[in-house]
């Protein structure tokens, strides 16, 4: 008791370095994963929690190597199953701060079922979804997020499959928190991660990540120095949806229920006309429109797109157990063994 009070009163000041393990980082030089690792370590140091309360749980894929590089509790599991393993860990031990790391193949192909059900249940954890639109670890096959027509080793004539938009899938599973960032933007990623951890329930953080080896430049329009400001819209709750090099572009609602990009100062548009972002509204309609914007027609939405309060799965689980325990006359196994119809043999 005294120990835990102490822990709350004066948490050790941790630095990103405290979260670095002694393992050599083995991602390709220039891989977007390096930036995300830095963002995570930076964010965790700011969370004010002791190291032992973190568990990083991953599946299989390049990004799923993540736990080995973190000096926290970690579990590098099997392909696709990280969301299920993390769900069990959090239900078993609700005090843990769980970061579940997956790539687009791990979370949305082989693990698609676990992904949507974790989101539906609203288990309190952060799912860090590395979206590089390719299978990297197996050396370059198309993934469920690869763009239609993309030529890869298993689609030498171009894919004939429609890609998933992860946000659409998540909203369909009734996601309460959805955010998006870019691997190179460490500041934004760690800022989002702090929000994601504060959110009670499943928080999905999609990171647009560049695989320099097998799908270089997949997100170039929004990451390229010359174009990025035109194609990035960083959303902040309560702020207007303004973007562009000159900060003169914005979104308004068109008459047909579609978002329209406008320029402030043209056609009588003023700043007051630009939409204000409401991340907290339970109605997912606007969040769906925002998260589905693609370049070059639209800017790509980054930041916290949706952040709606709700009770988490394990909060309800713990509460239900408490409620039943308060009512039941069975307090231990001996009570249960002797409950109901029993009889004595002399």
């Amino acid at each position: 008791m005294a120990d835990s009070l102490l822990k709350q009163a004066a948490p050790e000041k941790l630095t990103p370095k405290d979260f670095k393990s002694d393992q050599e980082v083995r991602w390709c030089p220039g891989c977007g994963d390096h930036g995300v690792l830095n963002s995570v370590q930076k964010a965790m140091a700011l969370m004010g929690k002791p190291k032992e309360d973190f568990a990083v749980i991953s599946g299989i894929g390049c990004s799923s190597r993540f736990p080995y590089y973190m000096d926290t509790y970690g579990f590098h599991s099997i392909h696709g199953r990280a969301a299920a393993i993390a769900s069990g860990a959090k239900s078993a031990n609700p005090d843990l701060e769980i970061l579940q790391v997956s790539g687009d193949g791990d979370a949305l192909a082989i693990g698609g079922n676990h992904f949507i059900h974790a989101v539906r249940r609203n288990i309190d954890m952060t799912i860090l979804l590395f979206n590089n639109e390719i299978y990297g670890l197996t050396k370059g096959q198309y993934s469920p997020t690869s763009k239609h027509g993309m030529v890869t080793k298993t689609s030498p004539f171009g894919t004939i499959e429609q890609p998933f938009h992860p946000a659409e899938l998540a909203l369909g599973a009734q996601s309460k928190f959805y955010a998006r960032s870019i691997d190179t933007n460490i500041k934004l990623t760690s800022e989002i991660l702090l929000d994601a951890t504060k959110h009670r329930g499943t928080s999905i953080v999609e990171v647009l990540q560049n695989c320099v080896i097998y799908n270089d430049g997949a997100h170039s329009l929004i990451t390229d120095k010359n174009t990025k400001e035109e194609y990035q819209l960083v959303l902040r709750h309560g702020e207007r949806m303004i973007f562009g090099k000159e900060k003169n572009k914005g979104l308004v609602m068109g008459g047909n229920g579609k978002l329209v990009v406008v320029t402030i100062g043209e056609h009588g548009i003023t700043e007051q006309d630009i939409l204000i972002h409401d991340a907290h509204t339970p109605d997912p309609h606007m969040h769906w429109l925002l998260s589905n914007m693609t370049a070059p027609e639209y800017p790509v939405a980054l930041g916290v797109i949706r952040d709606v309060a709700a009770l988490s799965y394990e909060e309800k689980m713990v509460q239900q157990i408490k409620d039943v325990q308060a009512q039941s006359s069975i307090k231990c196994m001996d009570d249960l063994l002797n409950s109901g119809d029993t009889w004595e043999v002399e």
Binding site: Y73, F75, I85, A92, N93
Partner: protein
Amino acid sequence: MSQKTKVIEKEEVVIRFSGDSGDGMQLTGTQFSDTSALFGNDVATFPDYPAEIRAPQGTVGGVSGFQLHFGHTEVNTPGDYADVLVAMNPAALKANLKWVKASGTIIVNEDSFTDRNLEKAGYDSDPLQDDKLADYNLIKARVTSLTKECLKDSGLDQKSILRSKNMFALGMVYWMFDRPLEHTEEFIESKFKKHPLVVDGNKKVLRAGYNFAKTIEALAYNYSVAPAKIKKGTYRNITGNKATAWGLIAAAEKAGLPLFCGSYPITPATEILQELAARKDLGVKTFQAEDEIAGICTAIGASFAGNFAVTTTSGPGLALKTEAAGLAVMTELPLVIVNVQRGGPSTGLPTKTEQSDLMQAIHGRSGECPMPVIAASTPSNCFEYAYRASKIALEHMTPVILLTDGFLANGAEPWRIPKMADLSPITVPLAKEGDDYMPYARDEEKLARKWAVPGTKGLEHRIGGLEKMDVTGTVSYVPENHQVMTDIRSERVRKVANFIPDLPVKGEENADVLVVGWGGTYGHLTTAVRELQKEDKSIALAHFNYILPLPKNTEEVLKRYKKVIVCELNDGQFAEYLRSNFQDIKFEQYNKLQGLPFTVKELKETFNQLLEEK
């Protein structure tokens, strides 16, 4: 009761209640068995559900049965053949006649033998009218009309009246076996306490059936089965699935850990998940996962996070859990995987029993991936073996497979209630704050690593499915290390043999024939062998609960006998396993794959034949 003309003392009796799935036969059977158990008989029961929940009414496919065996002596099986068959309609008679003893009693609901029902059951002519049943003691009772007559002024609607006709049949059988009605009357009062009319109606019909049997001349005698000589103690009835669930909860309590069950519903294992879900009062956490894989994966996650984790399934589900089971072996986390076996392959016979997942349990994973395999052998000892499987999992830091089967799962018997204080302690190798922790450092006795639960300060570490370096637990591709770790994984399982009891033998050391069985066939094998021993036949039984590793005295036992016959409800999987372990012992086999348990009769015939062969 003084009016009874003749009372026949019987050692044991088998009754089979059968009717349409809506006729309430499970309830009727359960009531009779509870009453008999309270009376002091030893009892074993087995329900026989139709495979389809809504098979067409009145057809053979829709017949639901409940068989019970009660006796003055030890009862180990629900019985091969029935002394009394209650058939509520022609389909029930058709489906069950072959299970009635020659000259047994058949009670039929005469009202249901209409042309239409006969046709639905597939009868060309009315068996009550021709002489097909001449060899039986046939009792025709107009159950439907007598029930209607009895309740015509009850104020109940027609549907409720018809529903209570099972009580009429139960009343009749209660009279035949001289059973008191009180237990069932109390049951009716509590079950329908919100509907006083239904309570009165059911009690009235129960008594009407009892009085009817007393009055009619067809039942000029009744039977009496004296209480059995049973060990002193407090008893209750329990099914295999409930006993399994309770064994797991007991182990968690003993180990001082919360119980977590990640599972997906599957016949015939679902009741374990249901029973655990109902036990929130004991802090049990159940997670109904999106699929079988998530069932085991949530359990592995829970185990990583410091709960005692289990997953429950049946054969096809175990196949889906295979890869994750390998992860549990690699990460050396405690986990109990319960497989309630059913007829396979594929969807197979979901509601029927079989023992054909043995090889899957022993070998069915990628890589060299051993884990202990344990089998329960009676409905009530599912508690004991679930507890033992849990103890091994937790103390040895390993996944364990517990095999039961559909026969054990749904079967029920009286069970002497244990006291928690009498169960052996479970000591969990938890790492503590301040320990100099190495994830894959081990103790000598068990080669178990320590369990460092997330949240413990200073013990942060990483585990996973990649091969790990001995002691340090970092990822390792070193060839020699893989050899070392493979050897350790198999040695860990072998070492479990030092912590399990010797294989017991029932019978003489130098008998001519040794019968070998494992798991759910215990009741039938033990009855067959006991009966032959009473006839002075030179036969003994060795029944296995510990499959992997085998008890240490296994070879010594098997070698003592000239003839060894391995009996199992599969095509010879345990026999093959024993052959691969003991190459110079000759194993005969007796196998059956009909979705049904053995009958004592067929076993005795087989053993007699073997005894006669020189």
